[in-house]
Structures are given as structure tokens and as C-alpha cells.
């Protein structure tokens, strides 16, 4: 790959994922494939030449020339409202990538593996869950997914049906309101929930935490307090409100 190259991309499909998020599939010219957990930079150019660049994690992995991102609208944002509301199949933009070798899962990595997502931080973890499932390794994976409400969960249907069908086991956490029939508590991910849902310290899990900065710092600190090794915790923060 030539460093710094922007590749032309065309929106192939756009589908609503939640009231504020959309899944976009992009056909990328010359795409070299990606590892599970990587991201791309997306560049938009206005008619007057003004450019804006944002980073989006890939929910897809592997060699297909079509990549998948999920964009959650940031109110008053400059780029995300366009990608969530306006962009249509056939529209063109530019992407750079795949990027990042840190927040990545490779099938040879020693497990078990714990995935912990806050909000749209689930996107790279979906790529990892898909890769684990395809590699026949889902039994050694768990996902803890914290969302405000059930309807805010991007990939809710895929994760739920996957968990029921031999895929990655999912523990849900609701910070604002739980769906009807929910018997657990509602609120921020706390030590009790981490103890109950994360692979035990004794199994030395490899942990991936992705979400808003405040969420990631809180969860990573709590895991270390509970005895998890900092060297086994990989983090990715995307800013925004916690």
C-alpha cells in the first residue's frame, strides 16, 4: 500500500440501523482488504473545495471490495448528519485505509476474548465478532454492549440472532431505559456487571474496549481494579459524550 493514498469510493447501500444511525456499504476501488477492528478515514469534498475528514471503524473485515461502516449522527456535526440523512447509493466520496494495527483481532491471538462496547463503539467489535464466528472461535468470545436504550443498539438484530445461534454471547447493559421484561438494573456499567459478564481474571482474557472516551476510561480503569492485566486490555476512544 502507498501511504497517504486516498481511494475513490461509491456508496453501494445505505440502510437505517437505529433512529440516529445508518449502515453504509462502500464499494472501494482497489481495496486491499482489512483485519477485524481496523478503521478508515472518510473524506468529503464540497463544491467549493472545502474538505472534511472523519474516522469510521469498519464492521466488515477480509478481502471483499465492499466495506461496511455504521455512522451515528452527532447533533450539530459537520459530517455525520450528511452520512446519516443525505448520502445516497451512487454518491461518491474518498477513503483512506485500512488504518490501525493496534485495535485489531487476529485468529492466532490467544483467547478467551472479551469485547466491551459503549454505543457506536460496537462497530469494530462487530467486525471482530464476525471474524471470530467465521473462524469457529465464537465460543471463546463474549460481548458486553452498553447502550442508552434497546432501540439505540446498532447491529441489535444480528448480535441477538447470532448469540442464539452459536455465535458470540452478548450481555446487554442499558444506561437510560430497559426494554419491557428486563430484570437487570439500568445504569452505567459498574464493577458488579463487569464481574458477572466478563471472562474471569484467572482466564487472562484479551479485552477490547471501544466507545466514547469517558466510557472507555471508566471501564478500563475498573477492569484493572478488578485484577485484569493492563497489557491485555486494548482500547479505542472516539471522543464525544460519555
Amino acid at each position: 500500500m502507498i501511504a497517504g493514498d486516498w481511494r475513490p469510493a461509491r456508496v453501494a447501500r445505505a440502510s437505517a440501523a437505529t433512529p440516529s444511525a445508518r449502515v453504509l456499504r462502500l464499494e472501494v476501488s482497489g481495496w486491499p482488504g482489512s483485519a477485524a477492528g481496523q478503521h478508515i478515514d472518510v473524506r468529503l469534498t464540497a463544491e467549493d473545495g472545502y474538505q472534511a475528514v472523519r474516522s469510521y471503524s469498519l464492521a466488515s473485515y477480509g478481502d471483499a471490495t465492499e466495506v461496511e461502516i455504521a455512522v451515528d449522527e452527532v447533533p450539530d456535526g459537520e459530517v455525520s448528519p450528511y452520512l446519516v440523512r443525505d448520502v445516497q447509493p451512487g454518491d461518491e466520496l474518498e477513503v483512506k485505509g485500512p488504518l490501525g494495527g493496534y485495535f485489531v483481532w487476529h485468529p492466532q491471538d490467544a483467547g478467551p476474548v472479551q469485547l466491551i462496547a459503549g454505543g457506536s463503539g460496537v462497530v469494530p467489535l462487530v467486525a471482530i465478532a464476525r471474524a471470530a464466528t467465521d473462524a469457529g472461535a465464537a465460543a471463546s468470545f463474549r460481548l458486553l454492549y452498553s447502550v442508552r436504550r434497546s432501540e439505540d443498539a446498532i447491529y441489535r438484530d444480528e448480535l441477538t440472532s447470532g448469540a442464539e445461534d452459536g455465535g458470540v454471547r452478548v450481555t446487554w447493559a442499558y444506561t437510560r431505559a430497559a426494554p419491557p421484561g428486563w430484570e437487570g438494573s439500568v445504569g452505567r456499567v459498574d464493577d458488579a456487571l463487569l464481574r458477572a459478564s466478563v471472562w474471569p481474571v484467572e482466564q487472562n482474557p484479551l479485552v477490547y474496549v471501544c466507545g466514547p472516551t469517558g466510557f472507555v476510561e471508566h471501564v478500563a480503569d475498573a477492569l484493572v481494579e478488578l485484577g485484569h492485566s493492563p497489557g491485555r486490555i486494548r482500547t479505542e476512544r472516539f471522543g464525544g459524550a460519555s
Partner: protein
């Protein structure tokens, strides 16, 4: 992943694309040593304050600015701060 219309605090993963215009390879896996406190860590773990014009990359241990990446028109400039040494991971 990020929507940095306002300066936003993220981490080194977010500057992978920007740094690829300066370094070959995957710069987020580079291991840097901080002149301020001696901490050794991969760039991916650094604290990054990011907006449309710049990314300020800070040591997670002592908050010294390791380096700053400036978008300069269609080019990128790297201004070294407290980064004492760096090697590929």
C-alpha cells in the same frame, strides 16, 4: 469512530490516517518514549486532542505533548515535542 467538529479527546488510533502521510508502515504501533516521565507506550495508547486543524498527541502518563500533527493545506507537518525516541513496534 470520531466526529471531531469540536476539539475532541480521543486516542492514538484516531491519528493513523494523518500519520500515514508522514510515516510508512502503521504508525499507531510505533513505540515512543516520553522525555517528560520516561513512559514507553505505543502511539495508539496516547491521549489525542483532535480537531480539523491539528492533533495534539500527549503522553498518557504525564500529559506532556509528545508531538503535534498539523494539517497544512493539502500537506501535513509534524512538530516534535517531548517525544525522546521512537521505534517501530
Amino acid at each position: 469512530m470520531s466526529e471531531h467538529d469540536e476539539p475532541s479527546v480521543v486516542d492514538g488510533n484516531a491519528v493513523a490516517g494523518l500519520l500515514s502521510e508522514v510515516f510508512a508502515g502503521d504508525p499507531t504501533m510505533f513505540v515512543g518514549t516520553c522525555r517528560g516521565c520516561g513512559a514507553v507506550a505505543v502511539f495508539a495508547e496516547a491521549v489525542v486532542e483532535m480537531d480539523d486543524d491539528a492533533a495534539i498527541v500527549r503522553c498518557r502518563s504525564c500529559t506532556h505533548t509528545l508531538f503535534t500533527v498539523l494539517r497544512d493545506g493539502h500537506s501535513v507537518r509534524l512538530v516534535i515535542g517531548a517525544l525522546r525516541e521512537v521505534h517501530p513496534g
